[in-house]
Every structure is written in structure tokens, then in C-alpha cells.
């Protein structure tokens, strides 16, 4: 399976006819079992891109193509939204089985799969809690488990850890890295945190400020499994610096434009 993001452009037109060009000719591919990270300054169209890939928004031009899929694996993608998007009226368990219900699995199949992902994200004992009874980090893990339980070919994540405190965030990055190695799926991960991008990614797609264009695609040649030792290695820091150089200019320009 391979996902081709084929020359995607997106211009929003609001009710008054005012146009906002969010994305310009985005073109790259996500290979099977690949962890691709998209970084870019705030407002450059990252969420827009993710929604288009998830089939939740139409591009103005271009298309997203899944190659080498069988139709019985629909939906191909699952999304971890920035704001969790958990169903407040469903318990942790019920949130996780939502997609399985839609696939028509029976109750026992549902709970076996749910069990597996509940332990994978470390939420044992919280199955019967409602989202409002969970911390931010736990909500995000439910959201990840819900997406993974649906067995997508491609998992899309929109700044999933940006609402977390720095410590939780670091731990969640380790966890996610481990989960990716366990599941061997394709991940597309959106962030504006460069360290996070280098730590997680096989490749990092660097977007320019709005309208988002691909500035560069960087292959991250670091060993796996990745853990805390990585973050002090010279090669890791070099990648971080290289991406920062791209982003820095963009960020300055964006800042000057706003003020």
C-alpha cells in the first residue's frame, strides 16, 4: 500500500467570497509502514492537508490516491484529532469500539480487539470511565487506541500531543514510537515541534508558511527503536538544526507579516 498526495492545492472561499490560499501544489508519497512527519509554521495548512487526506475536506485541485489497497479494508484512514474528539457520552471502552461497531463486528470480537489496544496504550482499569473523568494525556491515548482499533492502513495524527505538558509529551512520543514499531502501519504525523518530528519520523516533510508549499523532504537516518538516548546524539541534533534553518526564516517572515 502506498498513498500518493498528488499535487494538492486548497483555497478556502468564505461567504463573502474572500479567498485564503492554504495549500499550494503539495506532492509527496507515504510508503507502506512509513512514519512521515509534516512540520510547518502555524497556519500553513497542516490541518487542511490532514483533513483532505482523511476525506473530510475536498481539495481545490489535485487528489489523494491509495495504491494497492483492497476495498474490504475501508475506511483506509483513521484520524487522531488535535482536540481528541472523543464522544463524551461514551465510556473509554465504548469510544474505542465505535469504529468496530460500524464495521459490524459482534460484541466478543469488539471487546477482544478493544482489550488489546487498551493495554497497548496503558489504559487498563479505565474502561468504564467517561472522557470528562480523564486527564488530557489519557484522552489522547483513548483517541489513539480508537483510531488504531479500526485497523487503518494509514493513521493520521494532527498535533496529537500539543495539549500535553512537556513531560507527558516526551513519554507519549516514546510510546507512539513503540506503537508504530508494533503495528507496522503507515503514520502521517503533523506537528510544529521540530525535535518531535526528528525523533518520530522516517521522513520529515517541511512546509513553508501559508500558502503551504513543500520546502524540503528530509530522510531521517536514525536507528530504531528510538529512545531517550537518541536525543543527545550528534546526528539527531544535526537534523534538528537543519530543519530549524528552513523553518526559522519562514517563522520570522510570518511574524513580521502579522505585526
Amino acid at each position: 500500500m502506498k498513498v500518493l498526495i498528488d499535487h494538492i492545492s486548497k483555497t478556502y472561499v468564505d461567504r463573502k467570497g474572500e479567498r485564503t490560499e492554504a495549500l499550494q501544489d503539495i506532492h509527496f508519497a507515504i510508503e507502506e509502514n512509513e512514519f512521515v512527519v509534516v512540520v510547518g509554521p502555524s497556519g500553513c495548512g497542516k490541518s487542511t492537508l490532514l483533513n483532505i487526506i482523511a476525506g473530510l475536506l475536498s481539495p481545490t485541485s489535485g487528489q489523494v490516491i491509495f495504491e494497492g489497497t483492497r476495498t474490504n479494508t475501508k475506511p483506509h484512514t483513521a484520524v487522531v484529532f488535535q482536540d481528541f474528539a472523543l464522544f463524551p457520552w461514551r465510556t473509554v471502552l465504548k469510544n474505542i469500539v465505535y469504529g468496530l461497531e460500524e464495521k459490524g463486528l459482534n460484541k466478543t470480537e469488539q471487546s477482544t480487539i478493544a482489550e488489546q489496544f487498551i493495554s497497548m496504550v496503558g489504559l487498563r482499569g479505565f474502561e468504564k470511565k467517561y472522557p470528562h473523568q480523564l486527564s488530557g494525556g489519557m484522552k489522547q491515548r483513548v483517541s489513539i487506541a480508537r483510531a488504531l482499533a479500526n485497523d487503518p492502513l494509514l493513521l493520521l495524527m494532527d498535533e496529537p500531543f500539543s495539549a500535553l505538558d512537556a513531560q507527558t509529551r516526551t513519554l507519549m512520543q516514546y510510546e507512539l514510537s513503540r506503537i508504530w514499531e508494533e503495528t507496522q502501519k503507515s503514520f502521517l504525523y503533523i506537528t510544529h515541534n521540530i525535535q518531535e518530528a526528528v525523533f518520530l519520523g522516517d521522513r520529515v516533510v517541511i512546509l513553508s508558511r501559508r500558502p503551504g508549499k513543500v520546502l524540503s523532504i528530509m530522510k531521517i537516518d536514525l536507528p530504531r527503536p528510538r529512545n531517550e538516548h537518541l536525543t543527545v546524539e550528534k546526528k539527531y541534533l544535526e537534523y534538528v538544526n537543519a530543519i530549524w534553518r528552513y523553518i526559522k526564516e519562514q517563522a520570522w517572515e510570518a511574524l513580521e507579516e502579522k505585526t
Binding site: G55, P75, F81, L86, F87, G99, H132, N150
Partner: protein, 263 residues
């Protein structure tokens, strides 16, 4: 110079204190005062019977069972009207909230009919449906329908679009989204509509029974007034108050059961 100053909580006045004894005391106080007013005959008992007299009258009506006939008659009208209105209200509210064609058709019709006081439609309903139960149930149903439909419509419009996106991305189609996202999202609004509706239902049942009926609390109050049976009339008012309190209590309980995710 070193001074010591203890920091005071500037928001203390925002913390609403509870005065349960005050509520009870004022309630009892008013009744005692009332009792005194009628015992001393400051106001003729025909105009203002004493609370104890009203209670005794109520007790007598309870024992003869007469009161149940009236309560049951009113309750069954309320119940039918209410159930019909809520079902239609939810169905129509969801349709016009979720689908563009029903919205285009339904919105102006609702906007035009909503402002008509429902009691003004009663003569027309009697003309159409006769003097019996149907016209009374219909007027209650109409009265409850509007707050329900408007609440549900607002609820649907305010469903978090992110949750709909999440459901879509997990493989829901539109029918499933209505059942699994829209319905639970609007439940609080449905309950709010029911609470508004029950007040309207009580109002309309009494009004309808005063126009034409041979049983019911409204009928009872009207005949009592005709015969200058002020105590009986007062019993009717107390029953209405109790019914209102009961339904509010009931809906609050149901809300707890059906919306467990809200503490």
C-alpha cells in the same frame, strides 16, 4: 517599616451560601400568616379560605375518590399530547436541523405558526376534531411541539462538527451519525424542551378543560368557582402546583439516568 497584612479572599461574596432553614421558615411563615388572616376573618373566607380548611377539603375529596377522576382525566390528556409532541418535535427538529430541503420547507412554516397562541387555535381544533378528547390532546400537542422542535433544531445546529468528522472517519454513514452522534448530543436540549413543554401542557390542559369538558382539573376549578366553592378551587390550584413540581422532579431524575456523562 514592616507591616503584616493577611490576604483576604476578594471573591467571598460570590460564594452563594445555602439557607435551607430560611426556605422552610418563610414557607411555614406565609402559611401561618395566611391561616391567621382567614381565622381572624380579615378577609372573608369565601374569598380566601384558610390553608387548614383547604387541606381538609382536599382530604375529603381524596376519600370520596372524586379528585382522582379529575386528575386522571387531565393527566391522560397531558400524557398523550406530550408524547405525540415530543416524538414529532424530535423527528421534525432533527430533519430540519440536519437536512437542507426539510430546513428550507419547514423553517418558514414553523416561524409563521409558532407565534400564534395555541389556545387561540382551540376553537378551530374543536371544529375539526369535535368537542371530545382529540381536540384537547391536539392543542396540548401543538403547544409542546414548538418549544421541543425549536430546542432540537438548535441542538442539532450546535452539534460539535468535530464529533461528526470523527464519526465519519470511523466509518459512519449519515443515518448512523444521526443515531450515534446527533441524538446523544441533543439529549440535554430535549430535556430542556420537555421541561419547558410540561409547563405549557399544564397551562393548555386547564384552558382546554375550561372551554369544554366534563372532567379534569380545569373543569373542577371552573365549576368550583361557579358554585363559589373557593376551597375546592384552591385544592385544584394546589394539585396543579404539585403536578408541576412532580414533573420537574421526574425529568431531573430521567436526565440523570439518560445523561450519565454529565455530572
Amino acid at each position: 517599616m514592616i507591616e503584616k497584612e493577611i490576604v483576604q479572599d476578594k471573591t467571598y461574596f460570590l460564594q452563594m451560601k445555602e439557607h435551607p432553614w430560611l426556605s422552610v421558615a418563610s414557607f411555614v411563615g406565609i402559611f401561618l400568616f395566611w391561616e391567621m388572616v382567614s381565622r381572624m376573618e380579615w378577609v372573608p373566607p369565601l374569598f380566601l379560605p384558610s390553608p387548614s380548611g383547604i387541606l381538609l377539603e382536599g382530604w375529603a375529596m381524596l376519600k370520596t375518590g372524586l379528585i382522582f377522576k379529575h386528575i386522571l382525566a387531565s393527566l391522560s390528556r397531558i400524557l398523550w399530547g406530550f408524547v405525540i409532541a415530543c416524538s414529532f418535535g424530535v423527528a421534525v427538529g432533527i430533519s430540519i436541523g440536519f437536512f437542507s430541503i426539510p430546513e428550507a420547507v419547514g423553517n418558514p412554516i414553523i416561524a409563521a405558526t409558532f407565534p400564534i397562541p395555541k389556545i387561540a387555535i382551540l376553537p378551530l381544533l374543536i371544529l375539526w376534531l369535535g368537542i371530545g378528547e382529540a381536540s384537547k390532546v391536539a392543542v396540548i400537542a401543538l403547544g409542546v411541539f414548538f418549544p421541543m422542535v425549536i430546542n432540537v433544531y438548535t441542538g442539532v445546529k450546535n452539534v460539535d462538527p468535530l464529533l461528526i468528522k470523527a464519526a465519519l472517519s470511523l466509518g459512519s454513514n449519515r443515518a448512523r451519525i444521526i443515531r450515534k452522534v446527533i441524538l446523544p448530543s441533543i439529549l440535554p436540549m430535549v430535556f430542556a424542551g420537555m421541561k419547558l413543554g410540561i409547563g405549557i401542557a399544564l397551562l393548555l390542559v386547564v384552558a382546554a378543560e375550561m372551554v369544554a369538558a366534563d372532567a379534569g382539573i380545569g373543569f373542577m376549578i371552573l365549576t368550583a368557582a361557579d358554585l363559589m366553592q373557593t376551597k375546592k378551587l384552591m385544592v385544584g390550584l394546589i394539585i396543579l402546583s404539585l403536578l408541576g413540581i412532580f414533573f420537574n422532579w421526574l425529568f431531573q431524575k430521567l436526565e440523570r439516568v439518560f445523561i450519565p456523562w454529565k455530572q
